[in-house]
Subunit: 187 residues, 2 copies
DNA sequence: TTCGTTTTTTATCATTTGTAAAATTTTTAT
DNA sequence: ATAAAAATTTTACAAATGATAAAAAACGAA
């Protein structure tokens, strides 16, 4: 997934503003298993996923709970760090070898102050992430685990292929045993 | 809760920008039981709660599920309408007589295009709502119903007084009977 | 107040989900 | 190719939650 496509999907910037933004972005790559973001610290960097898949998890009384998957075109960001300059709660682990576009939060914030188009880009970015998060919340409250698994199968069939079921079960808020039962009844 | 305080809590605007924003805002009041927003339509208005308490709910197979409470200082908005110009999923019901500050989305969007401070105000608004939504999502995934009730008691003791337990139970994702059991074990 | 309605609690039983452990399948490394 | 490790499924039992009905408590209008 190339950078222009990722930027354009958020907000269509005039050429000049887009170039200013792109000047602050560089490419990086890390191997499967790498921890890209660590919880309980202020994270200064934003990543756009060019290639690969990652998961966000927290450690909850000696076990890991996965609460987000990100793949090509999505943004890896500690919202608490980005928005409030506070410690984030997410660890981000790479589930495949990955390539990212990297952007320093400090550079972006400078642009917010002097370029109205980039301020509106930042607004649209937050708004779109907000809608995604709200939909996840509502989905989680209103659907059973079984329905949520079926939706996942339908909306992201590749995820089931690329991510091990233990992580999927955790993401759905159930145990792996329970997910096995659900899969058995569907088949 | 006065308007200046609500605006300032989102983003500290220069006097001129703040006045431009305030020119678009008017006051309205509705009685307890009024439905302020209806699901499955595009909602053109944003409300800031001056006084009172409201709930957001959806109709899910013949019963209502509450998924949000808003009180003084909070914003009543259909995010889907605001962000994507699509039908929202929330109904908003007033649980007390309420007073609001009312702002038309169309006026706000005009200001986004010409005033960088208001564009950044809009960015901060979305960012802060995003953090709140993300925290609700994480809380819901990681805590048991019993823990969520205890947190609610601690963080919003007034809510338990002002809102009937059936709505609280729905908000927590459990039946009212189950909430009664939880309350019985805590006492 | 007092009656009627609504809300909350309690009790019982059915269903779902979790825990633990074993069995099976798949993946990885040599 | 084979052994070891990791992931997934299955089973049995325990714990938590849901559904329903009915009783008790709280609330509101006349």
């Amino acid at each position: 997934m190339n950078l222009d496509k990722i930027i354009d999907a958020i907000f269509e910037l005039p050429e000049e503003s887009k170039n200013a933004l792109k000047e602050s972005i560089t490419k990086v790559a890390y191997p499967k298993g790498h921890i890209l973001l660590k919880a309980d610290k202020i994270e200064p960097t934003i990543y756009f996923i060019k290639k690969g898949i990652v998961r966000a998890f927290i450690n909850q009384s000696d076990k890991e709970i996965t609460f987000w998957f990100g793949k090509e075109g999505e943004t890896v960001i500690s919202m608490k760090s980005y928005v409030d300059n506070q410690n984030g709660y997410e660890n981000i682990e790479l589930l495949e070898d990955c390539e990212f576009y990297e952007l320093k939060k400090s550079n972006l914030q400078k642009l917010f102050k002097k370029d109205i188009n980039i301020a509106n880009f930042g607004r649209r970015f937050a708004e779109k992430e907000l809608i995604k998060t709200e939909e996840r919340l509502i989905h989680r409250q209103f659907k059973t685990a079984s329905e949520r698994y079926s939706s996942l199968l339908k909306d992201s069939p590749d995820l089931i292929q690329r991510v091990q079921l233990g992580h999927i079960a955790s993401y759905l808020g159930i145990t792996q045993v329970s997910l096995s039962r659900i899969r058995a009844t569907i088949r």
